[in-house]
Amino acid sequence: MNFEIILEAWPLFAKGVWITLHLTVLALSLGFVIALPAALSLHHKGRFHRVWGAYVYVFRGTPLLVQTYLIYYGLSQFDWVRSSFLWGAPGFLDGTWLGAVWPSLKSAWWCALIAFSLNSGAYQAEILRGGLAVVPEGELEGAKSLGLNPSQVTRLVLLPSALRRALPQYGNEIVFMLHGSVVASVITIQDILGAGRTLNARHYVAYEGFLTSAALYMAITFAVVWVFRLVERRYLRHLNIRTAKPKGAGAPGIAGIGGVAWR
């Protein structure tokens, strides 16, 4: 191990960390925006549930690497793609902020973001659907009996409850997406792994670049896991099995009213 060359390359890795985090956070956020309607439609067998089902089936059924390759190298093969607004902002947007942030397939960064978002969206849709499916009927009946209309039930009871139940799996999905983002390095993006590969190639070594990348991914993963532990502790409190008896046994509480004894 040659630590000198690793230290020398730290600006490369710092930039890589920024790109990886940036890409992962945006992909997870956009993925969530896709997953929410998808999961609700799948759960309620909505009008487009077959379309969403096909989307989830395709993007969970194929590897992220293949999806990224198809979007980056595949779509660019078609002349009509390259001569359309998909390839770059229309001329009248030149010089405007919209022209500057236009999601162009010409850019490797946008291709990666699109592929990652679609992929994560499919996984998140499944996670959310699973969360929705295990919300007890009683919670929903209770909500209805309080006079909430269907959209209120969804917004105030069903979704919060499903999201809480999905939390542990969400932590997993974030870690998977973080690790999946290494795919960006094969389409010329200098993410953490890209920085590692460049280091390896520059010095003809095998371990220094990969081990540094691995250490960085591990550090980020641990940070995510730690944050999720805190979040879960807060939002899944109600699922903890009570160890202490409620204070003042015999006092009028929920348990008393329903006649169900806490165990």
Binding site: Y73, S76, Q77, R82, W87, K106, A108, V186, T188, Q190, G194, R197, T198, N200, A201, R202, Y204, V205, A206
Partner: protein, 252 residues
Amino acid sequence: MKRLVLAAALAGFATTAAAADLKICVEGAYPPFSETTASGDIVGFDIDIANALCASMGKSCEMVKTEWDGIIPALIEGKCDAIVASMSITEDRMKVIDFTNKYYQTPAKFISKADAGLVDTPEGLKGKVVGVQRGTIHQDFMEGEFPDVELKLYGTQDEAYLDLQAGRIDAVIADSVAMDDGFLKTENGKGYAFFGKDYSIPKYHGEGAGIGVRKSDGDLKAALNAAIDAIRASGEYKTINDKYFDFDLYGA
């Protein structure tokens, strides 16, 4: 039945493990020197040369397909014993591995769209994006001579061609012969052409392509050098040369 499958699987291992005398690292994504056919075979000038050298040394050889940016580590770690992959003999690489004498030498050159009108000066390429294969002499050359030009790094040369066609990059720099036969003369290369000078700067481009061996393998290096001379003398080199190129690849 299960046991039979297991036995067959183990037999499969055994046959691949019944190793050749020498394992040769080749790339398989650098036509016409080294390319992978639809059926998965690796063919090309490098492969033919490697086989001819092995035959001349009286050794059996096995080609090991290896990613370019991991090919030197693969040699050092013993995954193969020699690299025959159009690798230029450079000072930087000589720090970690040893090379035989050259087995061919060709200059580097830029390509772009034929009507792009690019000039190979720092001003001429200002604001343009140039693609190179990661970890090649061409990357070093660009970083050294054109530090302000945006570089895109690719795992293989073929991916750089794809992005040149897609218009994501304006030019590619690589070995002139590899690009001529591997791209310009193919269907995909229509409408693209060389521009600028022939580059052959020893500091970047070395002294031609040699066969990489471990520093500790002096005997193998000597044997390979003798074999290169032998196939040059016997005319076998020329036969292989003429199979792929209509000019002398060996250079001066």
